[in-house]
C-alpha cells in the first residue's frame, strides 16, 4: 500500500456542532471505564464571535507516530492501512507515549490499590488489537473491532452532521475539497414564498 492510502480521521470544523455524540458513542460502543476518554470534543476560541469552533479529537493515527518512537517496550505497531495500535500485554503504563503525543490521546485508567495508572488505552479506529480478531479477549481489552466487519468507526458512523470523516486519506481530502468548493452553492438566501413552495415547477 502506498503512503497516501493510510486511514485518517478528519473533523470538519465548519460542520462540528460540539454535540459530544462521537465521544459518547465511542465510550458506549467499547464499554470504556469512567475516566477513559478515547475521543473528546473540544471547543476552541470559546466565546469569541466568528472564531469559535468545535473539533472532535482522538488518536490521529500519525504517519510519524511519536508514541511509537518513544515507547521503551515497543508495544506499538502500525498496520498496513496506517492504523496505530498497541499491545496491552506488553505496555507497562509508563506514559511516555502521552508525553510525546501532541493531542493528549493516550489514556490511563485508574488501576490497583493506590489508584496508580494502569496500562495505556487509546482510540483503535475501531480496529481492535493484536489478539485474535473479534475474540472475547480482544473485545475486553480493546473494544469492538468494526473495521474487520467492514463497518465505519462508530464515532464517524453516528456523527449527525457528518463533520467527523474517516477513511483513506485521499478519499477524506476529496470529500473535504468538494465541501469547500460547493460551499454556498444551492443555498437559498431568499425566502421561498408561496409561489415557489407550492407552485408548479415552471
Amino acid at each position: 500500500m502506498s503512503e497516501s492510502s493510510r486511514l485518517k480521521f478528519y473533523c470538519d470544523e465548519n460542520r462540528c456542532i460540539g454535540c459530544d455524540g462521537c465521544s459518547v458513542a465511542c465510550a458506549e460502543a467499547h464499554e470504556l471505564p469512567s475516566g477513559v476518554n478515547r475521543r473528546k470534543v473540544v471547543t476552541l476560541n470559546e466565546g469569541i464571535e466568528g472564531l469559535e469552533y468545535s473539533l472532535s479529537i482522538a488518536c490521529m493515527h500519525c504517519t510519524d507516530a511519536p508514541c511509537e518512537e518513544v515507547c521503551p517496550v515497543d508495544c506499538f505497531y502500525i498496520r498496513e492501512d496506517g492504523i496505530v495500535l498497541h499491545d496491552k500485554d506488553i505496555c507497562i503504563g509508563c506514559a511516555y507515549c502521552l508525553y510525546a503525543c501532541p493531542f493528549g490521546a493516550p489514556q490511563f485508567p485508574q488501576d490497583g490499590a493506590f489508584g496508580t495508572k494502569g496500562v495505556m488505552d487509546k482510540c483503535t479506529m475501531c480496529a481492535g488489537g493484536p489478539e485474535e480478531t473479534n475474540s472475547h479477549t480482544e473485545r475486553e481489552l480493546y473494544g469492538q473491532n468494526r473495521i474487520s466487519e467492514g463497518k465505519v468507526p462508530v464515532c464517524a458512523a453516528m456523527c449527525s452532521t457528518k463533520a467527523l470523516l474517516v477513511g483513506d486519506s485521499n478519499e477524506v481530502s476529496n470529500i473535504y475539497r468538494e465541501r469547500v468548493l460547493s460551499a454556498g452553492h444551492g443555498v437559498k438566501t431568499q425566502p421561498y414564498g408561496w409561489n415557489v413552495a407550492y407552485g408548479s415547477k415552471k
Partner: protein, 298 residues
C-alpha cells in the same frame, strides 16, 4: 433540620465528583496544549522529549553500562587494585548510624538502579508483567531512598564542601593511575566521594520529585501552574531530567561499586564494621590522617 445536612452533604459530594473529573492533563488545558504544541513561544518539550527518548537516552545508558565497567576492567588489568596492609591499627570512621543509613540507601539503590535499567531497556525484556513489576519495585523502593537520603545529607554535609585538596586530587585523578603509595591529598572525603555525595543527595531529591510526578501523573500543583507551565510540560520536563540525571547517577554508582569492591581491596568492610585500615587512611585521606595525628586521636 436533618434535610439541610443531607442537602449540604450532597452538594459536597457533587463538588467532589466534579473535582475528580477535572483532570490536569485532559481537562481545559488540553486545548491550549494541542493548539500550542511546538509553536513559537511554547517550551517545545514534546519535541525535545520525543527526540531524546527515541534517539539518545538508550544508547547513552548502554554506553555508560558497558563503557564504565570496560574502563574499570582495563584499569584492573593494567594498574590493578590498591592493596593496603590489614595488620596495622584500624581507625573508626563510620558510626553505627552512618552505616545503617548507608545500608538503607544501598539497598534502595540496588533495587532502583537495576529496575530502572529494565524499564529503559524494556523492549529487550519484552515488556509485559516483568517490566511492569520492575516499575512498581522502582517506585516502592524510592520510599527506602527517601528515608535514608535526609539523614545522609545532614550527617555528612559538613565535610562535603569544596577544598583545595579536591583540586589537587582531581589533577592526579585520585592517584588511581599508578600503584605508588604516595599520600593523596584528601580530607575525610575525597573529591570523588564529594561529587557522588552531591549527585546522590541533591540529584536524588530531583530524581525523587520528577519520578513522583511521573508516577502520580494527573495532579495539579498551583506553584508550577502559576509559572504558566502546564502539567503535561511538567511531566515532559520530569522525564527528560530523570533520564539525563539517571545517566550520571548510574555512572557514578558503578564507579562507587568498583572503588569499594575492586579498586581498593577490602574498602567495603569500612561500611560494614566502621573501621578503616590505618594505611588506607594514611595514603588515600592524607589530610584527614594528619589532622587525626595532630589531635592525637591515633
Amino acid at each position: 433540620m436533618k434535610s439541610k445536612y443531607i442537602f449540604i452533604a450532597l452538594i459536597a459530594l457533587t463538588s467532589l465528583a466534579f473535582g475528580a473529573s477535572d483532570s490536569a492533563i485532559w481537562g481545559k488545558d488540553l486545548i491550549a496544549n494541542i493548539a500550542g504544541y511546538d509553536k513559537e513561544g511554547s517550551l517545545h518539550l514534546g519535541k525535545y522529549f520525543t527526540l531524546l527518548q527515541s534517539t539518545y537516552f538508550k544508547p547513552l545508558f548502554f554506553g555508560v553500562l558497558v563503557g564504565v565497567p570496560a574502563a574499570f576492567f582495563i584499569h584492573y588489568a593494567v594498574i590493578g587494585p590498591m592493596i593496603f596492609s590489614h595488620d596495622r591499627k584500624k581507625i573508626y570512621v563510620f558510626t553505627l548510624f552512618n552505616r545503617v543509613v548507608h545500608a538503607i540507601s544501598a539497598i534502595s539503590f540496588m533495587l532502583i538502579i537495576p529496575t530502572g535499567l529494565v524499564m529503559m531497556f524494556g523492549s529487550f525484556f519484552g515488556g509485559g508483567s516483568f517490566v511492569r513489576l520492575c516499575t512498581e519495585i522502582h517506585a516502592i523502593s524510592t520510599l527506602l531512598f527517601i528515608i535514608s537520603i535526609v539523614p545522609m545529607f545532614f550527617m555528612w554535609v559538613r565535610w562535603m564542601f569544596i577544598h583545595i585538596d579536591d583540586i589537587k586530587w582531581l589533577m592526579i585523578v585520585g592517584g588511581y593511575l599508578n600503584k605508588d603509595k604516595k599520600p593523596v591529598p584528601a580530607g575525610r572525603f575525597n573529591a570523588g566521594q564529594k561529587t557522588w555525595f552531591w549527585l546522590a543527595t541533591l540529584g536524588g531529591v530531583l530524581m525523587i520529585s520528577t519520578g513522583t510526578a511521573m508516577y502520580f501523573q494527573d495532579f495539579k500543583l498551583e506553584i508550577i501552574a502559576s509559572y504558566g507551565i502546564s502539567q503535561i510540560d511538567l511531566l515532559r520536563a520530569s522525564a527528560i531530567t530523570h533520564n539525563a540525571l539517571g545517566i550520571g547517577i548510574l555512572a557514578l554508582f558503578l564507579v562507587h561499586i568498583y572503588m569499594s569492591v575492586f579498586a581498593i581491596k577490602g574498602a567495603i568492610h569500612s561500611m560494614i564494621t566502621g573501621f578503616k585500615e590505618e594505611e588506607e587512611v594514611e595514603i588515600l585521606h592524607s589530610s584527614f590522617y594528619k589532622e587525626l595525628k595532630e589531635k592525637k586521636e591515633i
